[in-house]
Symmetry: C2
Subunit: 418 residues, 2 copies
């Protein structure tokens, strides 16, 4: 089917999806999870096809992300039932005003309409994204990567069958068949057919959306996250936080990429940082963290000299850029100039310094004495998420079900005129 | 000053503005209003210059919009003090979660940063927009029309003097000096320097922003508003509502442009509509409403035959397009195809029809038995507004102070890692 027809099809599902009751949507999610499990064999067969075709073209990490197993399919189904158990975000009266003339105005949450999602190789995103859209009363048009097409097709076939079983329109979940750049561009510019576009992927995809999209779009996921170790930091705490923020899962957007260290404690702190991130890991046979050091840091500990680009790179790897700063103000200025507005942290025992940092840093999540790794829908109590928004309009930080909704004003009168 | 320097200047004011206390901001607004009155003579002199230069180039309606008087300057100053009395939208804890590990997460409203506003000839927008931005802790860059430049300059000079008196940075209010299209385009594409762009003006300006902006942008104000008179309508009420929605102020975006009439009551209703909107107004010496009629309506009352474009035009004038529909479903389909998503109303005594309409119409404000003219920040209890958003992301309907803010997550820990 042509991409435009898939969009038109999804547009037709908007009405019934927006009007669906919580029970109907939950029934559909239950059926989607059930059919997904029932289709395990055909999904694995499709995935084997994808893996076979991709071999030699993509690296091992990407192959692993692409690979499905019975366990991964079960995890997808469990993800869907988790979403089912979350409260319905649609139909909440956010504010209610009764005007002197008797007009009753209710600001009410409603579904967005058609949400388009462009993402890369992991096929589990297909099930996650569809479940979040269905629960929030939206239709969705999914545009996954070329490498995962057969897997995504098998997964969406199962999801659509589940939707149909619950009496909701199967076309509320659409999968774009064209996996060339043309279809991405078409989604970005499908004004009137796409109510919200969410790109989930690398910096290139996000940039393309910002520059070319004429439909409403939410930037997600680029995270150059900073941990600033203040002069008044508890150094043990700082070490634990940086160790966690850097090494617990370096490939995710909330991992730290840059450590800023106040010069007053640099001589005491940096050797311990090097010990913890490099030597101890090496001695345990773990991948040591490569430290990319500014000149002042390089005078204190061994490491790679940092190039200019190192403070503007999302490494997503066991690499940490380290810079010594002369003051908290210099740390703030560095963050203002280099942060992607995702998550930034200060480690300090000085309450005034902490409050100043919280106010001054213009990022989605700003931390005092905690790891940036907490920026996550589950950790923030949203239950699940579609991604981490790094923009300021509409949604900032983890996007849960509520952030996939908009609102409208519903006004009931008995003949009022102005 | 070059537009880019004005933007850089505003960016420097972001920090102090975001951190300003409610008292400081109110003091600044008070001073802004006071200095504005003190500068009455110089503002009127500048305005006389604008009027002189504009004569012959713009029509009388536009000249009237451009003209200032002592009374209009006083009204501007009163507008500023009204904003001063509204509650501070910054620093509200929107949600608070304490996680099992002791992490305290507060979703907190914060200023957006730099708001750019592109608007057309009325100079009072300059004072209104600046006041709303200052109260919401933002810096603003204003780009008014060429015809009003001298007036806008005199007004912003006064506002900046007021800001300075209260110890806030004068550069938090910037006025773009270049009034060619180049500066509009520069604002639309000032990625990283403009946190939010609000175009206030005609359909052409809004379209240009949607197509060319790479900064976050909120579409405002285009209103092709519908009133649907259902088969079960109280016809007296319907007449009052349409009369009000069409004639109380035809030049504004919440005025009705289209009346849809159920065929079951068309023969009874349309002659009364014609009597009320055309004959009675003529006999009182008022401008009669021109009715642009679909074929079925034209068979029942006199009027102009409607062309296809008449159902897609924001007349902003004493013109009403009238269409007879065979069912509520046909009315909903017409609205879905032709509404700009601003405000649409049904007049009916049938509760089920009313609820179905409220659910099905995908517009910022959906009314039962009331005039579309109520879609307004003041009427909705927001106190004031920057415009009416017709989009779904971030803000929908009237944009008050809260809608000029974003939020961030502030997380306080004591060493938590994940």
């Amino acid at each position: 089917m042509r991409t435009r027809d898939i969009l038109l099809s999804a547009a037709k599902a908007k009405g019934p999806m927006a009007a669906a009751s919580e029970e109907q949507k939950n029934e559909a999610l239950f059926a989607m999870a059930k059919v997904l499990i029932e289709h395990t064999d055909s999904i694995l067969a499709a995935n084997a096809q994808d893996l076979e075709a991709a071999k030699g073209h993509i690296g091992n990490v990407m192959l692993d992300r692409l690979a499905l197993s019975k366990g991964r399919i079960r995890a997808m189904a469990e993800g869907i039932t988790q979403v089912m158990h979350l409260p319905d975000p649609v139909g909440r009266v956010l504010e209610r005003v009764e005007r002197p003339g008797g007009l009753i105005i209710e600001k009410t949450s409603v579904a967005m309409g058609v949400i388009a999602i462009i993402y890369e190789s992991r096929p589990n995103v297909t099930a996650d994204a569809a479940a979040l859209c269905i629960k929030s009363g939206n239709a969705c048009v999914l545009r996954g990567g070329k490498e995962a097409y057969a897997s995504n097709k098998a997964i969406t076939d199962a999801l659509r069958e589940g939707l149909g079983k619950a009496g909701l329109p199967a076309k509320a979940v659409g999968l774009v068949e064209d996996t060339t750049r043309a279809s991405s561009l078409e989604l970005m510019q499908a004004k009137g057919l796409v109510d919200l576009l969410i790109p989930r992927g690398g910096a290139g995809l996000i940039r393309a959306c910002v520059e070319q999209a004429t439909v409403p779009c939410i930037e997600t996921g680029t995270g150059i996250c900073h941990v600033y170790v203040d002069a008044a930091a508890d150094l043990d705490m700082a070490l634990n936080i940086i160790y966690n923020a850097k090494t617990s899962r370096p490939s995710v957007c909330n991992a730290a990429e840059v450590c800023l260290v106040h010069e007053a404690i640099a001589a005491a702190f940096l050797p311990r940082l090097q010990e913890r991130l490099v030597k101890e890991r090496s001695s345990r046979g773990e991948v040591p963290v490569e430290l990319r050091l500014c000149e002042k840091a390089a005078a204190l500990i061994p490491g790679t000299p940092a190039g200019a680009a190192d403070f503007d790179t999302e490494f997503l790897d066991y690499i940490l850029a380290v810079k010594v700063v002369g003051s908290a103000g210099e740390a703030l200025a560095h963050i203002a100039a280099h942060s992607t507005g995702h998550s930034d942290a200060i480690v300090t025992e000085d309450a005034a310094a902490a409050e100043h940092f919280l106010r001054a840093v213009d990022s989605a999540a700003v931390y005092v004495n905690a790891s940036t790794r907490f920026t996550d829908g589950g950790e923030f109590g949203l239950g699940c998420e579609m991604g981490i928004s790094t923009q300021k309009l509409h949604a900032r930080g983890p996007m849960g079900l509520r952030e996939l909704c908009t609102y409208k004003y519903i006004i009931r009168g008995c003949g009022q005129i102005r």
